[in-house]
């Protein structure tokens, strides 16, 4: 980033290639299913904001990834706020259950934790659960899990008191675990 801020355009190409997927994924998941069509625009705006603020980046502070994810988070939250997205949309959990379909296809009584297909189904389910979270809790979860931010970092980036950030994250995890349900019951906790 410093090289790019110094005028090295090629340095930006490297930076972008390194973080394109993660940042795009983060923006898409944060916007949720209802605003998934806005993901491209928010993603582009985030990078343009990064380009414009290249001179203000200070490596002594947060890592570049944290800095960039925070920019993307703010833009996505603004978009959510503007769109008036309903919070906590209840989803119909009957019928199209990926796990049920998967078990039916494979004829397995219980999914194996090593099964890639299982994890893909679990991931799909998680996306659904994330969509159901309130925006603020979803953002806290994604920043914490996607970006690997600590609670302290989370509090700083969201401009929240430590306890508030911590409780927000706790609530998010609680809801996600409840939403994931049988997926997590099947899986053994990772060591």
């Amino acid at each position: 980033m410093l090289a790019y801020a110094g005028g090295d355009a090629a340095a930006f190409d490297v930076l972008y290639a390194r973080h394109e997927a993660a940042l795009y994924r983060f923006v898409r998941r944060l916007l949720g299913g209802a605003l998934s069509s806005h993901a491209d625009e928010v993603f582009q705006d985030a990078w343009l904001r990064i380009v414009a603020a290249r001179a203000s980046f200070r490596p002594q502070g947060a890592a570049w990834r944290t800095w960039a994810f925070t920019i993307a988070h703010n833009l996505a939250m603004d978009r959510l706020r503007v769109s008036g997205r309903e919070v906590g949309v209840e989803r119909d959990e009957d019928g199209d259950e990926p796990l049920d379909w998967l078990m039916a296809q494979t004829g397995q009584v219980a999914a194996s934790s090593e099964d890639q297909a299982f994890w893909r189904a679990a991931g799909a389910r998680l996306l659904h659960c994330l969509d159901a979270l309130p925006d603020a809790q979803r953002a806290a979860f994604l920043l914490h899990h996607e970006d690997g931010a600590s609670v302290e970092d989370l509090a700083q980036r969201l401009a929240l008191p430590f306890e508030t950030a911590k409780s927000r994250l706790r609530y998010a995890l609680k809801k996600l675990r409840g939403c994931m349900g049988q997926y997590l019951d099947v899986l053994e906790p990772a060591r």
């Binding site: 790019y4 005028g7 090295d8 355009a9 930006f12 190409d13 972008y16 394109e20 997927a21 795009y24 994924r25 898409r28 998941r29 993901a39 491209d40 993603f43 582009q44 990078w47 343009l48 380009v51 414009a52 290249r54 890639q116 994890w119 893909r120 679990a122 991931g123 799909a124 389910r125 998680l126 996306l127 914490h144 899990h145 996607e146 609670v151 911590k166 994250l169 706790r170 995890l173 996600l176 675990r177 994931m180 997926y183 997590l184 899986l187 906790p189 990772a190």
Partner: protein, 340 residues
């Protein structure tokens, strides 16, 4: 797994269907283009490499330079094809301006010509042909007068020098005076009529009386004054210009503008060109022709008995050696104008 971290959720996220999602190619291209453009030097933005830029800034800059160069080239120079101003306007001004003294002959003619034209302005187009003929006749008289003057110069160098000086002003004024003539239709002989230096006729008459025979004298009489004026028409004879004439006879009086004087103007001109007789005319005048230029009187031509006396304004009177036929014709013309 802790309260705030769950590896299962982390794994599930890593394996989610959208884990391999990428933004569209156009989004990527837009971001990279913006990033590269942000760190480009300013000159690079204005001068993109071969055909990359959509805006032809190079061509626009070259056009501005060319326009500026052309403007500097033509700055202060006359624009070709521009219409010239009306010719008469410029010449009128200088002709009217020096009214007082320098070129009294022509200038006064220009000024009175306008008022004379006012009462009876004939269409300029109709005046052109006769004016041309009159001008030609005047030119011929000028040439003749020139020849006479050359001869006189050999005999009187001093007088010739003075005539040459006086001749210049009317010569220059003659050109502007000609165009000013159209509005006022007046006899061109008027140019010769107006020129008449006061003292010269006498000296010239004396000089010419020596060689002249009877037949020659009258013919040559007009020559010296015209020659004097000769260089003429160029000569300014102060006080001889007139724009109107008051005719008085038998208790009647009438003021006639020169333009309406008809033959009388030319007859008066010829009479004023006549030589001076040393005889003294005394007695009352039976016919008076008061010549005036606007409000200013220039002279009076009187018939006293059978003689014609000329009284120029501010100068002593003298008797003119007028041909009998000429005098009679002038008298008849004046009387015809007097009649109602």
């Amino acid at each position: 797994m802790t309260e705030l971290r769950d590896a299962r959720l982390r794994r599930a996220m890593d394996e989610a269907p959208d884990a391999s999602l990428r933004p569209p190619e156009r989004t990527r291209a837009a971001i990279l283009a913006a990033a590269h453009g942000a760190v480009q030097p300013a000159w690079r933005r204005w001068w993109p490499a071969g055909g990359q830029g959509r805006t032809p800034w190079t061509a626009a800059f070259a056009t501005v330079l060319l326009a500026g160069f052309i403007t500097l080239m033509w700055q202060g120079r006359e624009i070709p094809g521009a219409k010239e101003e009306v010719a008469g306007a410029d010449r009128q001004a200088p002709a009217v301006a020096p009214a007082p003294a320098p070129a009294p002959v022509v200038v006064p003619e220009a000024a009175p010509a306008a008022p004379a034209a006012a009462p009876a302005p004939p269409p300029p187009a109709a005046q052109a042909p006769p004016r041309e003929r009159q001008r030609a006749a005047r030119d011929e008289r000028v040439l003749e007068a020139k020849r006479e003057q050359a001869q006189r110069r050999a005999e009187q160098p001093a007088a010739a020098a003075r005539r040459a000086e006086v001749a210049q002003a009317p010569a220059d004024a003659a050109a502007p005076a000609a165009p000013s003539a159209p509005p006022a239709p007046p006899p061109p002989p008027s140019m010769a009529d107006l020129m008449r230096p006061a003292p010269e006729p006498e000296s010239l008459a004396k000089s010419q009386s020596a060689p002249s025979a009877g037949a020659v004298a009258p013919q040559r009489a007009p020559a010296p004054p015209a020659a004097a004026a000769a260089p003429s028409l160029r000569a300014a004879a102060p006080g001889v210009a007139w724009s109107q004439v008051r005719i008085e006879a038998d208790g009647r009086s009438v003021v006639v503008p020169r333009a309406q004087a008809g033959r009388l103007a030319s007859l008066v001109a010829r009479m004023l060109q006549a030589g001076v007789d040393e005889a003294v005319a005394s007695g009352p005048a039976s016919l008076r022709l008061e010549l005036a230029l606007g409000e200013q009187a220039t002279g009076v031509l009187e018939k006293v008995g059978e003689q014609w006396r000329w009284l120029p304004q501010g100068q002593p009177a003298r008797v003119l050696r007028v041909d009998a036929a000429l005098g009679t014709a002038a008298q008849q013309e004046a009387e015809s104008l007097l009649r109602p």
